[in-house]
């Protein structure tokens, strides 16, 4: 048993922490998310330069030989600064699909570009009716000679406005919620028939509604085996969940620290409000929930390579526990900040918003509690 990080991981954490603190300060972030683009390509280029984007890839794949623990370290720092840049869609999701199931040609085509920061991906999986069920999709991909023709509508595709490429889930056979018949494709956003409508999200990111109108992709766009992608999707989304749990841990850490600090500064009735026991105990409960979340995030991250059932149980456990903690900490942090907590000016409200949306991505608390029950 060993809960220590490697020297390299500590260095990554320190470097990233400094970068987020010094170059992703609150005003810089605000300017970036309020700009027309809504993010900072310069920050992305810098992450590539620092080797962050290549961290979780093997050396064979052109990366730095790290893995899920490295992604965890990175995402926790991103969470602390509410970094909006698309590490999860590009590196964890698209990178994950390629890493696990990409052909040599696909890896060659995309991985170096991902690691170098030149190619941004978004993961188009959610649909208006499908909610948390990755198999409940109406987007179709019909085999047509050497190509596939895609039709359908993907909802709230995070990071799509910044992306040049999309990873798209589609049904190649079967119907309804069949586990069989789901396939994954890489689609260039500039392809004929891809129509997007871009917008801001409440947690400071950007997303698109993506419509596929007879979009033709070559057979080489298929990742993995046709019709057999659901287990692959479950694996990659589990990795994304573990990464986002780490992000939430970073955000919760800051939200809690800010709240304790605020309770020290804010005086009412002649004393700092942190002197009131009723608030003290609530901040202790927030702290406890945060520590438990870190533990569950470690558990999920360390079990990503385990057998399917063990992995899913650990990931669901983390998504449940971190989701509950994110709700508690977000709500209490705002409450203890009083009126200032509901303003746009104070950072705490932005942490609250990110922690709220965290629960809605890749399955909420109830969904993962059910998955845990089903696997127990």
């Amino acid at each position: 048993m060993d809960f220590n990080f490697t020297e390299e991981q500590d260095m990554v954490r320190d470097g990233l922490s400094r970068m987020v603190r010094e170059q992703y300060d609150w005003e810089t972030r605000r300017k970036a998310i309020e700009s027309e683009a809504g993010w900072s390509p310069e920050v992305w280029a810098q992450l590539a330069e620092l080797g962050i984007l290549g961290m979780p890839f093997s050396e064979d794949d052109g990366g730095f030989g790290g893995g899920a623990i490295d992604s965890m370290v990175i995402m926790e720092e991103f969470g602390k600064g509410l970094v909006v840049e698309p590490f999860v869609p590009t590196v964890v999701c698209a990178g994950g699909f390629l890493k696990h199931a990409g052909s040599d040609a696909q890896k060659e085509d995309h991985l170096a570009a991902i690691i170098g920061g030149e190619r941004i991906f978004a993961f188009a999986y959610a649909e208006p009716r499908g909610r948390y069920d990755y198999a409940d999709i109406a987007t179709t991909a019909k085999k047509d000679g050497d190509a596939y023709t895609l039709n359908g509508h993907k909802a709230v595709v995070i990071g799509a406005p910044w992306a040049s490429h999309l990873v798209v889930t589609a049904r190649t056979s079967g119907s309804g919620r069949d586990r069989d018949g789901i396939s994954v494709f890489i689609v260039e956003k500039a392809a004929d028939g891809v129509v997007t409508r871009d917008y801001e999200t409440v947690d400071g990111r950007r997303a698109s509604e993506v419509y596929f109108e007879n979009v033709s992709v070559p057979a080489g766009a298929l990742i993995g085996e046709e019709g057999k992608a659901l287990p692959l999707i479950e694996l990659v989304t589990d990795e994304a969940i573990a990464a986002q749990c780490a992000e939430a841990c970073g955000a919760m850490k800051v939200a809690h620290t800010m709240t304790v600090e605020y309770s020290r500064q804010r005086k009412q009735f002649g004393v700092p409000i942190g002197k009131f026991q009723v608030l003290q105990h609530r901040m202790v409960d927030m702290y406890t929930a945060y520590e438990q979340s870190v533990s569950l995030t470690y558990l999920a991250t360390l079990k990503l390579d385990a057998g399917e059932t063990e992995r899913k149980r650990a990931v669901s456990a983390a998504k449940v526990g971190v989701g509950q903690a994110a709700r508690l900490i977000g709500q209490e942090a705002v409450q203890i900040h009083g009126g200032n907590g509901v303003t746009d000016e104070y950072a705490i409200g932005h942490y609250f918003k990110r922690l709220t949306i965290f629960d809605h991505e890749f399955g909420n608390v109830d969904h993962h509690l059910k998955r845990h029950v089903e696997l127990s």
Partner: protein, 402 residues
């Protein structure tokens, strides 16, 4: 003891239902509250009710109240919630109005009550300060007597909708040497057009602008704008807060909200079936309904107590705590119900629509729009009107005697 309406009450319900159907301005639709409402839209229903004589039902009849029983007032708010009307804002009707008719002089009543009833005069509340929130009595805004005027200096905050206000009621310190901070505070009415009054908007986390900072710099206010006695303002403020709390439960609105939540979750899908058929989700909706049912009866018991001559007492703090918890839970479950479409920031999308025309693809179902903004916005309810922590302190002191 029973919960049934009498035939007279049913007749009353039919009467108000018909009145609302026939007189609620059609251009307001049935949206209730919208983020982009104009001041005219916010007062439209108030003005109709003012003409009918129904804008201030809870006031004593001599000041324009309707003399309705608590049950009739309950029916009135139920029917308004049913039609999703935008009710008169509380600042005049439920806050300063009762203070003026209870503690004000005849000139003040004659000058201010008609405008509150008709909806022609917009009021705002100048209580909180940057350093005086839960500890309201520590407020620092000063009113110094200078001949026939008070000269007022200070900064107020969270002044809701002050950007539209004609008048404000302010708590100011008139005796800085009083033995206790609660003594030495006065309740003063200020014309918002007076030189030296400056209103600066505060952006909230939902993207909207409903509260403001209000800066008062050498604002000269005639002494006749003092309500009641000098240095007794704290008494009036406490009276007002108790009144504010009794309306804060928002039961009828929440009932309408639960109905809407059921509609949404019947329309949304989870695992191929309607969301409302998912036991985990249905269970949460039922839990909310149970809390709301308890709250409704608790509020009716409080209203009945008022009818029997007991003013709203410290138990109204229960209504504030549970009412806001229900409102917050309702908006949270609504956000959960809409799924992914809670994530778009509709504040930015509305602008896109108006620029690009209507031929764009829609973003989610209509009911999903603003669900996150509403959830975020409702976090304020456990903070304002005396935070829920302060309400618990009140119950601790006044009811438990600790």
């Amino acid at each position: 003891m029973n919960l049934d309406f009498t035939p007279e009450e049913i007749a009353f319900r039919d009467e108000v239902r018909t009145f609302i159907a026939e007189n609620h301005p059609k251009h307001l639709g049935d949206f209730g509250m919208r983020e982009d409402m104009t001041p005219e839209e916010m007062t439209a229903w108030h003005k109709v009710l003012g003409e009918k004589g129904w804008s201030v039902p809870a006031w004593p009849v001599e000041y324009g109240g309707t003399g309705w029983t608590p049950t009739q007032r309950y029916i009135w708010s139920e029917e308004n919630a049913r039609a999703n009307t935008f009710m008169p804002l509380p600042f005049g009707v439920s806050m300063v109005g009762p203070v003026i008719y209870t503690f004000g002089n005849e000139e003040q009543k004659a000058k201010h009550l008609p405008g509150i009833r008709s909806g022609d005069v917009w009021w705002c509340q100048g209580y909180s300060e940057p350093g005086a929130g839960s500890d309201l009595a520590s407020l620092k805004t000063t009113a110094v007597r200078d001949g026939d005027h008070y000269v007022i200096n200070g900064q107020k905050t969270w002044t809701t909708l002050a950007q539209h206000a004609d008048w404000g009621f302010f708590l100011c310190r008139t005796d800085p040497d009083a033995a206790k901070p609660q003594e030495g505070i006065s309740f003063i009415l200020i014309d918002m057009k007076t030189p030296g009054v400056e209103v600066k908007p505060i952006k909230l986390l939902d993207g909207g602008y409903e509260v403001n900072e209000t800066w008062l710099t050498d604002v000269r206010v005639p002494v006749e704008n003092l309500v009641g006695e000098e240095n007794k303002g704290w008494t009036y403020a406490k009276f007002l807060l108790a009144h504010e709390r009794s309306g804060i439960a928002g039961v009828a609105r929440s009932k309408r909200g639960v109905e809407k939540l059921r509609e949404i979750s019947a329309n949304e899908t989870l695992y191929g079936a309607p969301l409302i058929e998912d036991f985990d989700f249905a269970r949460k909706v039922s839990q909310l309904e149970i809390d709301l049912a308890a709250l409704e009866i608790t509020e009716l018991r409080t209203l009945a107590g008022e009818q029997a001559g007991k003013g709203p007492g410290p138990e109204s703090s229960i209504l504030k705590i549970k009412g806001t918890e229900v409102q917050q839970r309702l908006t949270e479950l609504t956000l959960e119900a809409v799924g992914s479409y809670g994530t778009p920031y509709y504040g930015s999308i509305a602008n896109d629509n108006s620029e690009a025309g209507s031929n764009q693809y829609p973003i989610g179902p209509d009911y999903a729009a603003h669900s996150a903004a509403t959830y975020f916005n409702m976090r304020k309810t456990s903070i304002y009107g005396g935070s829920n922590e302060i309400q618990r302190n009140i119950i601790t002191k006044m009811i438990l005697g600790l």
